[in-house]
């Protein structure tokens, strides 16, 4: 218990530290004294506007996206009993990309919501297809393969759109694909937060399933848990979380697949009552750390170039100590 409390405390302090760092540092440095003033009583000064219009949405985007992708990845790894699963595996991210590709490359706009609306609709459509699959097929492996194939199919459609795209729109699409925490607006924070809350709810309510899912459907049913309904809840929640993060920040790779492993190595438990909040905090921290790099460096490049060696080191070290995946 002490270890778990210590890990939570460390992660929380880390999130707090990097949130403040993100707020005060950048092309225009914000003194710490001014930070508190501007947060408590916003005014029309440049510092206040930078904080409220740029940096607070950036912090919120990193925290919410990191949390969403990490929880989504943990849930999918648990449901499919596969440590290589992540939010991208079910094609949700591909769906969002397809929506954006339709809007940017083919000029098929979705109302007046622009890229965000297109990504949301794309992710939602794929989510609905997955839910339809999940309610028809009880085997996790069938669902996993179907999700992968769906992702490949959508990626192929996107590449067709890319092949016929014009230079300028292609550039905008490629920039979207780099992923960024800088697209969220102050007004959008509440929508993103609401989407995250809606996605987390069915996941949290399926805690009994998540804690036993690793042992197989028959074992879970033996514990008195309704497998089909619980799995559907977790998949819906995971899809909403991954879809929301992709819609608001673009396809952010790596967090969803790596954070659940980091979280386990820190907390050393399979109890999702610990792993879920642990992964959420760990994901937020990783996203915030990636966000402090200069904005001209693509977010996905930062996450992969800096993150992969660190995660590999941690995993190899864990495996040597008998704490393998």
């Amino acid at each position: 218990m002490k270890r778990i409390a210590l890990c939570f405390g460390t992660l929380f302090l880390g999130v707090l530290f990097f949130s403040v760092w993100t707020l005060v540092s950048g092309p225009v440095d914000v003194p710490f004294s001014k930070l508190l003033d501007s947060l408590m009583s916003p005014d029309s000064s440049m510092v206040s506007r930078i904080l409220w219009e740029l940096r607070i949405p950036r912090v919120a985007a990193a925290v919410l996206a990191g949390m969403s992708l990490a929880v989504s990845g943990l849930c999918l790894q648990t449901v499919f009993r596969n440590p290589l699963c992540g939010p991208f595996v079910l094609g949700i991210s591909s769906g969002a990309s397809f929506g954006v590709a339709l809007a940017l490359l083919a000029g098929i706009s979705i109302g007046h919501f622009g890229t965000l609306g297109a990504a949301s609709v794309g992710a939602l459509v794929v989510t609905l297809v997955i839910i339809a699959f999940a309610s028809r097929f009880s085997q996790s492996s069938v669902l996993l393969v179907a999700g992968l194939l769906l992702g490949y199919f959508i990626d192929a459609l996107v590449s067709l759109l890319i092949a016929g795209a014009e230079g300028e729109s292609l550039q905008v699409y490629v920039a979207w694909g780099f992923g960024s925490f800088g697209r969220l607006t102050l007004d959008g924070i509440w929508v993103f937060a609401l989407a995250v809350a809606v996605g987390l709810l069915p996941v949290v309510l399926s805690m009994r399933y998540l804690n036993s899912a690793h042992l197989g459907d028959e074992f879970v049913r033996g514990l008195g848990i309704q497998v089909g309904r619980s799995r559907l809840c977790v998949l819906v929640g995971s899809s909403i979380l991954a879809g929301a993060a992709t819609a608001f920040c673009g396809p952010v790779a790596f967090i969803g697949i790596a954070v659940p492993h980091l979280s386990y190595l820190m907390f050393r438990t399979t109890n999702h009552r610990v792993l879920l909040p642990g992964s959420a905090l760990c994901g937020s921290l990783l996203a915030l750390v990636a966000g402090v790099f200069p904005q001209w460096i693509p977010l996905n490049a930062v996450l992969s170039v800096v993150g992969v060696p660190v995660i590999l080191y941690v995993l190899v070290r864990g495996a040597r100590q008998g704490r393998s995946l």
Binding site: V204, M207, R208, N211, H214, R221, I225, T269, T270, H272
Partner: protein, 249 residues
């Protein structure tokens, strides 16, 4: 034994998988508190399927399965008990289940309290006591924080039993629990089953291929053979020709 002791009652049961022939003709069967019944038969005769049907994980093809007087079935029906109620009364222990490499003994035994937990799957002080007692009873406390994957087969079989004991079920069903155990550990396991049945008034059905353990540790022996089920007291099973299917008698 009177009818009040009947934990599991089966009437006109036909069991098997949908779309296939039932394994046996319809039969009746009762399991009493404090009793150990050995379930025997050739590979593929339907022992595991019958245990799943007793556990409510597979719907009967015909007839009824009553658990403590209430209908148990995998299919939805108005009078059937809820999945949670079922899980508090019966546990099917299969040693072939592969726990995740990361799961510790304590975490696995703790899953036994899932049928009693709230929506957030917390554990009360009472749950913790049940988990502690179960681990103590099965002598697995000393490696409670080790990963199950690191345990020997004998240790693992005790952990699986501890999980079912923590559940405080009335009926315990075991599918070939000594399949991976050596002779001393098999004897130890069956002695544990006997004392569980006696001390906790549990009804236990255990499938096994060993005539020796069946005769020595069970009260009755049930044999699935040639589309029928025959049941006899363990002391009379040999005389009544229940072991003809083995080819030795």
């Amino acid at each position: 034994m009177n009818s009040a002791d009947e934990l599991l009652q089966v009437e006109n049961l036909l069991f098997g998988y949908p779309g296939r022939e039932p394994f046996t003709s319809a039969f009746d069967f009762e399991l009493h508190g404090g009793e150990v019944v050995a379930l025997m038969g050739e590979n593929g005769c339907g022992k595991s399927t019958l245990l799943k049907t007793f556990a409510g994980l597979l719907s009967p093809r015909g007839g009824t399965v009553l658990l403590c007087g209430r209908t148990v079935s995998a299919a939805r029906s108005a009078d059937r008990m809820s999945d949670r109620e079922r899980a508090r009364l019966v546990a099917l222990v299969r040693m072939g289940v592969a726990p995740p490499a990361r799961m510790t003994v304590r975490e696995f035994v703790s899953l036994g309290r899932t049928p009693y937990s709230g929506i957030l799957d917390g554990r009360s002080a009472e749950d913790e006591k049940c988990i502690f007692d179960a681990m103590d009873l099965l002598d697995v406390s000393r490696f409670a924080d080790r990963a199950i994957a690191e345990l020997s087969d004998g240790e693992r079989s005790r952990v699986f039993l501890a999980q079912a004991v923590a559940r405080e079920v009335r009926v315990l069903l075991l599918d070939e629990p000594n399949a991976f155990l050596d002779i001393p550990r098999s004897h130890a396991l069956f002695r544990t089953l006997r004392s569980l049945a006696h001390d906790r008034n549990m009804g236990i059905v255990v499938s096994t291929h060993s005539l020796e353990y069946a005769e020595r540790y069970s009260d009755r022996i049930a044999v699935l053979d040639s589309g029928t089920i025959r049941v006899a007291p363990a002391s009379n099973a040999r005389a009544e020709g229940l072991f003809g299917w083995t080819g030795e008698f």
